[in-house]
Amino acid sequence: MKTLEIKQVGKAYNGHTVIPEINLSINDGEFVVFVGPSGCGKSTLLRMIAGLESITKGSIALNGKTLNGVHPSAREVAMVFQSYALYPHLSVEKNMAFPLRMAGVSKSKTKQLVNETAEKLQLTPLLKRLPGALSGGQRQRVAIGRAIVREPALFLFDEPLSNLDAKLRSEMRVYLKQLHQQLKTTMIYVTHDQVEAMTLADKIVVLNQGEIAQIGAPETLYNQPANKFVAAFIGSPVMNFIPHDAFSSLLNHISLPSNTQSVGLRPNQVTVDKLHPDCHMTISVVEPLGHARLYYGELAGSQFVVESSELYNCGQQLPLKLSDSTLHFFDHNEQRINALEVSNAA
C-alpha cells in the first residue's frame, strides 16, 4: 500500500523556482532518505509534506487523503527538527506530553503513553529534567519521543543528527534504525550526509537542483549510479572520473561504448597490481585509515584517489590494473551507459 503520494509538486518563491516538479511514491513502512547537496530542495520538500511550506503546484496525499491546504496539526505527521526544537520551559515529561495535551487526551492516558514511550527510549530517569539540562543525544531522544508518542502515520526527520559529534551520530544512526524496525512506521529523513543516507535508508531519493536525480536502494545507487551527479555524490571518497580519450590512451586494448564521455572508478574498486600494472600513479598524499590507506595523485591529467591496503609511501609509483577494476561509463549528458551497451562495445 502506498502511504505518501507526491504528484507534480513544485515550489517557487517570488517567481524563483526551487522545485520544478517532483513525482514520488513512498510505501507503507519504508525508511526513505532525501539526500543531496545544500540548496537542492530536500528540506523544502520535507517541509511541504509537513505543511510548514505551501505548495506552488501539484498535490500531496497521505493514505489517500489530500494534504493540500491542511494545517500541519491536522496531518497525522510528526517531525523531528535539526535543532530538536524542544520547549525549553517544559520538562522532558511535559515536552513529550505536549502533542497529547493538544489533542485533548486525558491526563491518565497521557501519563501512561508518556511513560511507555520514555521506557522505550530509555528516558525515564530524565522525565523531570528541563531540556537545558540534557546532552545533545538525550535531547534528540526526547525530540523523537515527542514525535512517536502520538503514533502518527508518517515521521519526518530534518537533518536530526547534524548537531551531534561523530561518535554520537553513529550511535544514533543505529538507534534510529532499530526504532524503525520496532515501530514499522513510514519515515522520511533528510540529510546531506551520504553515509547517513546509505546506512539508514530502504530507499534513497537523490535530489539535485530541485529535481530527483535517482531513486533506489542504497546498493543500487552505489553500484549503478544513474548519472555522474549520483556517482559523485554517493560513496566516500568520491568516485574518480577520467575523460574517455585520456582513459583510452592509458588502456588502448579496452574498447569503450561509442558515446562514452567519461569513465568513473570508485577509489576502493581500483585494483593495485604490482605484477601486471596497466599504468602507474605518482603518490602525492597518503592518508592512513587504519584498515587501508588513501593514495592521492594524478592519472592521465585528472585527480585520482585509490584506497588500498598495500603499503606505499609519498612519492612512490602506485601500480594500477584499471582493466580489472569496476568501471562506470557516462555519456555526453552525464547519464550512465547501461550494461547492455557496455557488453556490446566489448
Binding site: 510548514l52 494545517h71 500541519p72 520547549y87 502533542p99 502520538r150
Partner: protein, 270 residues
C-alpha cells in the same frame, strides 16, 4: 595610580547619583523647623515623622490607589495589545514593508513632545466624554506605553526560534494555543521587564493627568506632588516624604521581579 583614579571616578559617580536620594530621606525625616535651619546637615538632629503624618492625614491612600489602578490598567492594556502586535510584526510578512512603516510611525508618536499630542487628545477625550475619568487617562497613557511595549516586545519575540513554534504546530497547536502555551511562557521574562517599565511610565506621568483630571479625588501622585509647590512656598518636608512614598512601590516591584528583569534584559540584548 590608575587603580586609585578609577576608584575615585567610580565613587564620585555613585555619590552623584546617591546624594539626591540621601537628601530626600534626610529632609523627609527632619522636623519642619530643622528643614529651614541654616547649614546643610545631612543627618537630622532629631528624627521626625511629622512630614509623613501630614501626608497620611490627607488623601494619600486614595491617591496611591488611583495611581496604582491607572498605572496597572495602562500596563495591562498596553501589554495585551503589544504582545499580539509584536508577534504579528515579527512572524508575518506585510506587503510593501508596511510593518517597518508602522513601527516607524509608532516610534514617531513615542518621540513627540507630550504637549504636541496633548491638545488633540484633550479634544478627543472631550468628544468621547472621557475627561476627568480614570478610563480616559488609561487610554491616554497608551500613547506612551503602547509604542514602548511594542518596541520592547519585538526583540523578545524575535529571540524565540521559529522552529519551536513550527514544532508546536506539528504537535497540534493552532495559533492561539501556540501563543498561550509556547510564545507567552517563553517571553515571560521579557513581558515582566516590559511591564515594569510601562508601570514606571504610568506611575510617573504628570502632564496628561494634569490636563485630563480635574477633581482631587481622582488625582494621581505626580499631580498631588505638584500641590506642595505653590506661590506661597514649598512644603519641603511633605514633598520629600511623598518622594519616598511614591518611589518605594516601584523599587519594591523591581526588586521582587529582579530575577525576571535580568533574564528579560539578557534575552532582549541577544
Amino acid at each position: 595610580m590608575s587603580r586609585y583614579l578609577h576608584r575615585f571616578f567610580v565613587w564620585s559617580a555613585v555619590a552623584l547619583f546617591i546624594l539626591p536620594i540621601v537628601w530626600m530621606f534626610s529632609t523627609a525625616f527632619k522636623s519642619p523647623g530643622e528643614i529651614f535651619h541654616a547649614g546643610a546637615n545631612l543627618i537630622p538632629q532629631q528624627i521626625s515623622l511629622a512630614s509623613f503624618q501630614a501626608l497620611l492625614n490627607g488623601e494619600l491612600p486614595i491617591l496611591v490607589a488611583n495611581t496604582v489602578f491607572i498605572a496597572l490598567s495602562a500596563t495591562v492594556v498596553s501589554l495585551c495589545i503589544a504582545f499580539f502586535a509584536a508577534y504579528a510584526l515579527v512572524r508575518y510578512r506585510f506587503p510593501a514593508k508596511l510593518d517597518n512603516l508602522f513601527l516607524l510611525a509608532v516610534l514617531v508618536v513615542k518621540m513627540m513632545p507630550p504637549i504636541v499630542v496633548a491638545v488633540p487628545l484633550y479634544s478627543l477625550m472631550n468628544t468621547l466624554g472621557l475627561l476627568n475619568s480614570q478610563l480616559g487617562l488609561v487610554l491616554a497613557y497608551q500613547v506612551y506605553t503602547l509604542p514602548f511595549c511594542i518596541w520592547m516586545l519585538l526583540s523578545f519575540i524575535r529571540d524565540i526560534p521559529l522552529e519551536i513554534e513550527e514544532a508546536a504546530a506539528m504537535d497540534g497547536a493552532h495559533l492561539l494555543k501556540r501563543l498561550a502555551f509556547v510564545v507567552f511562557p517563553l517571553c515571560a521574562p521579557g513581558l515582566v521587564a516590559t511591564a515594569i517599565f510601562a508601570m514606571i511610565l504610568g506611575w510617573n506621568e504628570f502632564l496628561f493627568s494634569l490636563l485630563f483630571i480635574h477633581t482631587p479625588d481622582k488625582f494621581t501622585i505626580p499631580l498631588f506632588i505638584s500641590n506642595f509647590m505653590t506661590e506661597d512656598g514649598t512644603a519641603w518636608g511633605e514633598l520629600m516624604a511623598i518622594g519616598i512614598v511614591s518611589s518605594l512601590p516601584m523599587l519594591a516591584l523591581a526588586g521582587y521581579m529582579q530575577r525576571y528583569l535580568l533574564r528579560g534584559f539578557s534575552m532582549g540584548l541577544k
